[in-house]
């Protein structure tokens, strides 16, 4: 009975737990890039839509409704398993470029044939209140902040907007800007960024350094245009406490964390988003006629390199405009009212940065004018109409009309073939041979062959070959020199060793006669005397000088007389003497060694 009840309880628990396992929970949240909950997002600034799926067994991405119109960037996925239960957090880095109220969600996930939905989340997207560093009242906690700014917000189509971004970081902090990931708005034409400009600024009694880049934008169409936030990547030294504020994305200190300080300074890579910029672009007011540009202009002039030429010769007609506008896009394709007898060709156009007025630049358009008939001709005044962004009205600038005197000539009219050739000074007629390339080759190496080469290490080995005999010869000469230099000293140093070695050799051979010569050689080497002239008296003198007692000297004399007799005696007589003689000899050598 008990067993049956227990069985039913176990089955019931299994069923209940399996039901529990199949219960998937889906939650949708909107957060800022540093993980905080978000109720209001800023226009053009990234935030995160997080879908948390609990108790799931599938890693299939959920479908999130309501993200149409959102700009979706990176997506991420984090899996966590605790006590056998898996939770997955899916993150979507998104951005909205237009203000409004949006409904994000629901997030739908399908698992084992069932559909699980999250709640919808209401999100308000509004313009961000930009913290103007000059007007901040409350003390700033941040060590870095990243600002995107422009000089105008309300502009017309084509009007120049000067933009800049600044990366601020606290002075005396080891923070380094690693890079900036720019964003783009397709309705804006942007120039190349110039920088980096460095500077210092005091904000609320705190000294900040900044790095700045500048560029210009020109809106291409009317409407509300958002330049999304830029992202700055920077490195910051690792701190053990969480002293670094969570206003930026944090990569984490990693496994070694606190131990990293033992291995020297280590850095974390972090990032921070700037604010976005929104421009209110109005269309240009109605105008009957061609509008050449939008901006401010100082002068519009035309000139020629010479007022008189021969028929068929080329005259350079230059139009120069000075202004602050989108010069790169500015074009002057047509000369209005050119007489039929004057033919003109595009030559070149270039921008000059040498304007006297600040912010203004000059652009020149050069044309080659060729008179087909002789006579007096006039290039009429040219007009340039633009929308003055300061006075908010259309204005027209005019050049002077230019008179030309064309003389009858015999030269044939030329047709310019290359702009490059006309850049050369004095070049009036192109050298047509320059267009001709050198003809093909009909023989030679038309197929490729493997290039022979000596491998690098073998090459080095070959280079060492001549060094070997040199090295050997050099080594030998050095050894010889050392020997020559130190030989007497070595002989003296090793005299006792040599004597003992000779004695042991003599003992083996029973060569008693050699004992005497060994001692003579010992004294000669040790005291640097010649073997042929050293006498017993010299030896006794040395012994006396070295402090040998009279008894020792007498014993020595007895020993010497004994060994000297070996030299002259016959072999049979020598054998009669005791073999202790060698031991005695060794005894005397060691004694001398101690005393000397």
């Amino acid at each position: 009975m008990v067993k049956k009840v227990g069985k039913y309880i176990a089955i019931f628990c299994l069923l209940a737990s399996s039901l529990k396992i199949n219960c998937v929970d889906v939650t949708l949240q909107v957060k800022s890039t540093d993980g905080a909950d978000l109720e209001q997002a800023a226009v053009g600034k990234p935030f995160v839509v997080e879908v948390l799926v609990k108790d799931t067994s599938s890693t299939k991405k959920p479908e999130v409704k309501g993200l149409d119109g959102f700009h979706i960037g990176q997506t991420g996925l984090q899996i966590q398993t605790i006590n056998g239960k898996t939770s997955i957090a899916y993150t979507f880095n998104v951005r909205v470029d237009k203000p409004g109220v949006y409904k994000v969600g629901p997030a739908i996930i399908k698992e084992q044939g069932k559909e699980y939905k999250s709640e919808k989340v209401k999100l308000e997207v509004a313009q961000e209140q930009i913290l103007d560093p000059d007007t901040i009242e409350q003390p700033l906690e941040q060590k870095v902040f990243f600002e995107l700014a422009s000089d105008k917000k309300d502009v017309v189509v084509g009007e120049k907007i000067n933009c800049r971004f600044r990366f601020y970081y606290l002075d005396k902090e080891d923070i380094k800007l690693k890079g900036v990931v720019p964003s783009r708005a397709k309705e804006l034409r942007e120039t190349e960024k110039k920088g980096a400009y460095e500077g210092k600024q005091k904000i609320n009694d705190k000294a900040y350094n900044y790095i700045e880049y500048r560029w210009s934008c020109f809106p291409k169409s009317a409407g509300i245009i958002t330049l999304p936030a830029y992202r700055a990547e920077f490195s910051v030294p690792v701190t053990h406490s969480t002293g670094f504020p969570r206003s930026s994305g944090q990569a984490g200190q990693g496994f070694f964390g606190a131990f990293s300080s033992f291995f020297g300074r280590s850095y974390n890579r972090e990032y921070i988003d700037s604010n976005a910029l929104t421009f209110n672009v109005q269309p240009l007011p109605q105008y009957d006629g061609i509008v050449n540009s939008v901006g401010q202009f100082n002068s519009f002039e035309a000139s020629v390199d010479r007022a008189a030429a021969t028929q068929g010769d080329g005259i350079v007609y230059t139009i120069e405009i000075e202004g602050d506008c989108d010069l790169d896009s500015l074009d002057f394709a047509k000369i209005i009212g050119m007489p039929e007898q004057l033919k003109y060709y595009d030559s070149k156009q270039y921008v000059l940065d040498n304007s006297a007025k600040e912010g203004m630049k000059k652009k020149r358009f050069e044309f080659i004018v060729q008179a087909l008939e002789s006579g007096d001709w006039t290039i009429p005044e040219q007009r340039f109409t633009y929308f003055d962004t300061k006075k908010r009205e259309y204005k027209t600038l005019k050049t002077d009309a230019i008179k030309l005197k064309i003389l009858k000539g015999t030269s044939k009219p030329f047709v310019p073939k290359s702009k490059k050739d006309l850049d050369n000074e004095g070049a009036q007629v192109l050298d047509n041979t320059r267009d001709k390339i050198i003809g093909i080759q009909t023989y030679g190496q038309w197929y490729s062959t493997n290039q022979r080469e000596i491998s690098f290490w073998f090459f080095l080995l070959l280079m060492l070959v001549p060094l070997v005999p040199w090295g050997v010869a050099f080594g030998k000469s050095v050894k010889r020199k050392i020997r020559e230099r130190y030989a007497p000293h070595m002989i003296k140093k090793y005299a006792f060793k040599t004597a003992l070695k000779d004695l042991s050799c003599a003992k083996k051979k029973n060569d008693f006669a050699k004992i005497y010569s060994i001692f003579i050689a010992l004294f000669a080497q040790r005291f640097e005397l010649s073997e042929s002239i050293i006498t017993q008296d010299d030896i006794i003198k040395i012994l006396q000088e070295k402090g040998f007692s009279q008894e020792d000297i007498n014993n020595w004399e007895n020993f010497v007389s004994k060994i000297s007799s070996f030299v002259f005696s016959e072999k049979g007589v020598v054998e009669k003497f005791d073999k202790d003689t060698f031991e005695q000899a060794m005894y005397w050598v060691n004694k001398f060694k101690e005393k000397f």
């Binding site: 190349e192 390339i437 023989y443 280079m463």
Partner: protein
């Protein structure tokens, strides 16, 4: 035994047949070029299995006459490998004309002339020359030991020669180590291997750049001292 001989003969014949077929293609392409059928000539040149400098040169000419100046520059740049110095000068002349057509300039500086001269000979040639000089140098040193007169002069000459040969060898090694690429599509130079990185410069068509390394579909290049990343589709590696 006889079977082996016959087999060897067949293989030899096969190889010569293939080789002669390739040569036939080359000669036919030359004739097509002379008849101004540039497209057909180019297609035939491209079919040659292992094209050498002459084939690349002729391909460049075909591209030029078809108005593809950038492709012509690429083909001519490839033709420089294995070409003699005089032929390299002809190639440079053609490249200058192609650049004129594109509205850009191409200058051959004195230093480039030296590099061209060095690269016109094979690495093996310079290695052998250097080793020869190296052995002679040590032989000279033996001679100098005995001859006291003019010792300094001989030593100076020997060392100068050593520097020159070592220098040419270094230039040749460097030319092999670094790849050259030609920009075929104007675009931007980025700070990293992704378009999201900061733009640090612009590249014009037909610019010559040095490729330092590659990362997936991006190349790290050096253009006149400015180092940055460019999309691989925008350059053609020589």
């Amino acid at each position: 035994m006889y079977k082996k001989i016959i087999l060897f003969f067949i293989i030899f014949l096969g190889i010569t047949c293939v080789a002669s077929k390739q040569e036939e293609m080359f000669l036919t392409a030359n004739n097509l070029y002379k008849n101004k059928e540039y497209k057909k000539a180019l297609d035939l040149y491209k079919k040659i299995e292992k094209p050498g400098p002459v084939t690349y040169y002729n391909m460049g000419n075909c591209e030029y006459n078809m108005g593809n100046y950038v492709s012509a520059i690429v083909a001519w740049s490839r033709a420089k490998k294995g070409s003699s110095w005089s032929k390299r000068q002809d190639i440079n002349y053609n490249i200058i004309i192609a650049h004129d057509k594109l509205g850009s300039s191409y200058e051959v500086t004195f230093w480039q002339e030296i590099k061209e001269f060095v690269c016109s000979y094979s690495l093996f040639f310079w290695q052998v020359l250097f080793l020869l000089f190296w052995f002679l140098f040590f032989a000279f040193l033996m001679f100098l030991k005995k001859e006291q007169n003019l010792r300094m002069l001989w030593l100076f000459l020997a060392l100068s020669g050593g520097f020159i040969f070592a220098g040419t060898l270094l230039i040749k090694y460097q030319s092999i180590q670094y790849k050259i690429a030609i920009v075929i599509q104007a675009g931007s130079l980025f700070a990293g291997p992704n378009e999201k990185y900061h733009q640090i410069g612009n590249l014009s068509v037909a610019d010559e750049v040095i490729v330092q390394k590659s990362d997936k579909n991006w190349y790290k290049i050096d253009r006149n001292g400015v180092v940055g990343w460019v999309n691989a589709n925008q350059v053609e590696v020589i």
